[in-house]
Amino acid sequence: MNGHRAQSPTRHRAGGRNEVLGMATELVWAGVLIVAGYLISQLFFIGR
């Protein structure tokens, strides 16, 4: 035993609400990454 709680992939269920929230989570995460990219671009222009 590795001491970590094994999590069954089938514990959660597919369904309309879960799917919409899941999709929203993915879109937000992609958005956050893009914003991080924009902030890095800004960082390189600080003081110029």
Binding site: A6, P9, T25, I40
Partner: protein, 507 residues
């Protein structure tokens, strides 16, 4: 010891390859209907002829080799590798008939590029290609991203005994749900839901940029399929630069990122396990490497003063970087801009991003975030072992859907595949250099082909040497199938000759 090859082995391989070929033939109905909608009669006839030929080949193959036996792992590997070759040749027929491909080799280059979601192309006069052929190009990347075998499993083969092995042969070795056909259906379900959303959003943005509604939604579908499947094709030779639309570029970036996700991650997040997106080893690895390689890109571009402000740097630099890292290949700069303006350091940053690539069991290519994560964790575990007392038992873990124990076997197999990728990148670059291309350009183009990215610094053209075309085709094929099925095919061919020789000696 390698086992003998029997006639039944050929039957199993032939039968399933035949079924997959029939699937390819049926798929050609989509571009034929598109041609009819746009009243492109010649193109519709080209697709009609191609459908007849492909269905005939597939049907005859399945008929001759008809069997009730299900494929084992060796068969599945050979079927996956062989069916991609058969699909490449038969899918090239509409290209040849259209007159836009200068030779069958050029057409095969484009279809292999499409199926492997690479995005390099040799097609001539791309700006005047029919809508039917454009649909076919983008459909190839869309289907290739999900996997030809996955498509066949969904609609033609079903849950046979060897179905899961067939998926493993194609590199989709994630068991989302116990039933194999349901895995294939889930993969298609996620892709189709995003297809509708992506087409609608990109279509509306295309209308806002001044495109006619009917054409706008077709372009929306093309750009979505190209981004989601990490393919990189676009209907025009200027790729994303043609649209001059920042909103379209941002939406495209979103779908490139989502397309680079492991289908197991999509499934986990869509079934309520939303925290998985923050803990998954591939996402953590992807985030770190994206931000690191983008910082390197910014450094290179700032050194040369390529862009005057942060918005321009973000718009060109981040788009190219995301395109490279997700192994998509969409571009909003000209190919030669990379060489003339970005310089060696900028190209190196993109080359590293392409080499690392997307997630395992996704539509993307490259080493994959999973392997990067496993190798990194393996190194950390080894260092921890060295720093711990000799009797201490140090065990590493990584999180992918569940907490997994890091075994030496997992680290070894990840390292072996990464070494194989490096090997094909280097071999492709050496062939490029042998033809006189500069080292940076040769490496960039070779990594782009081997990682199934499709960004080009200008080497990929119809006039490039034939051997280099063949080299890139092999790189795209091996890179997409992650080597093992291709090596199994080679091994099977060698074993077949050996068995034949034995039979002759016995006779």
């Amino acid at each position: 010891m390698v086992r003998r090859v029997w006639r039944e082995d050929f039957r199993i391989i032939g039968y399933y390859t035949g079924l997959i070929t029939i699937g390819v033939g049926l798929l050609m109905l989509v571009p034929m209907v598109t041609s009819l909608v746009f009243r492109e009669w010649q193109s519709a006839i080209d697709f009609g002829l191609s459908i007849v030929l492909t269905l005939l080949v597939g049907y005859l193959l399945a008929l001759i080799s008809r069997t009730r036996n299900t494929p084992g792992l060796t068969h599945a590997m050979v079927i996956a590798a062989a069916s991609w070759l058969v699909a490449m040749v038969l899918s090239a027929v509409p290209y040849v008939l259209s007159g836009h491909a200068l030779s069958l080799l050029d057409a095969c280059f484009d279809t292999m590029s499409g199926y492997t979601t690479t995005g390099l192309f040799l097609l001539q006069d791309l700006d005047h290609v029919s809508q039917g052929l454009n649909m076919w190009r983008h459909l190839l990347t869309y289907v290739g991203g999900q996997g030809i075998v996955v498509l066949a499993l969904t609609f033609l083969i079903g849950s046979t005994g060897g179905a899961y092995k067939l998926m493993v042969g194609e590199g989709k070795d994630e068991k989302l749900v116990p039933n194999v056909r349901h895995i294939a259906v889930q993969i298609w379900r996620i892709s189709l839901i995003y297809l509708f959303i992506g087409t609608a959003v990109l279509g509306i943005l295309a209308i806002a940029s001044g495109m006619k509604p009917q054409l706008a939604f077709f372009h929306g579908a093309y750009i979505f399929m190209s981004a989601w499947s990490t393919g990189g094709f676009a209907p025009y030779s200027q790729n994303m630069l043609y649209y001059h639309s920042l909103p379209m570029e941002i939406v495209s970036m979103v779908f490139m990122i989502l397309g680079s996700f492991n289908f197991a991650l999509h499934y986990a997040v869509w079934t309520g396990n939303r925290k998985e997106i923050l803990r998954n080893v591939e996402i953590v690895s992807f985030t770190i490497t994206v931000l690191t390689t983008f910082s390197l890109t910014c450094l290179a571009l700032m050194q040369r003063g390529v862009y005057p402000n942060a918005v321009a740097l973000f718009r060109r630099g981040f788009f190219q970087l995301i395109s490279a890292h997700t192994t998509t290949g969409q571009s909003n700069i000209y190919a030669r801009t990379l060489v003339r303006e970005w310089g060696p350091l900028g190209m190196l940053a993109l080359t590293i991003a392409m080499a690392i690539g997307a997630s395992a069991a996704s539509t993307g290519g490259g080493f994959k975030g999973m392997r990067m994560g496993i190798i990194f964790k393996g190194i950390v575990t080894d260092v921890r072992k060295l720093l711990s007392p000799e009797r201490a038992i140090v065990v590493g873990h990584y999180h992918h859907i569940r907490d997994n124990t890091l075994t030496d076997g997992a680290v070894k197999s990840a390292a072996v595949i990464v070494v194989l990728y490096v090997l094909i990148y280097v071999v492709g670059a050496v062939v490029g250099m042998a033809y006189g291309y500069p080292m940076a350009d040769a490496f960039f183009e070779s990594v782009s082909a081997g990682s199934n990215t499709g960004l080009s610094c200008g080497i990929t053209q119809a006039t490039m040497p034939t051997l280099l075309k063949v080299m890139y085709i092999v790189e795209m094929w091996m890179g997409r199938l992650e080597f093992l099925s291709v090596f199994t095919l080679f091994g099977f061919i060698a074993a077949s000759f050996r068995s034949l020789k034995r039979q002759k000696v016995a006779a």
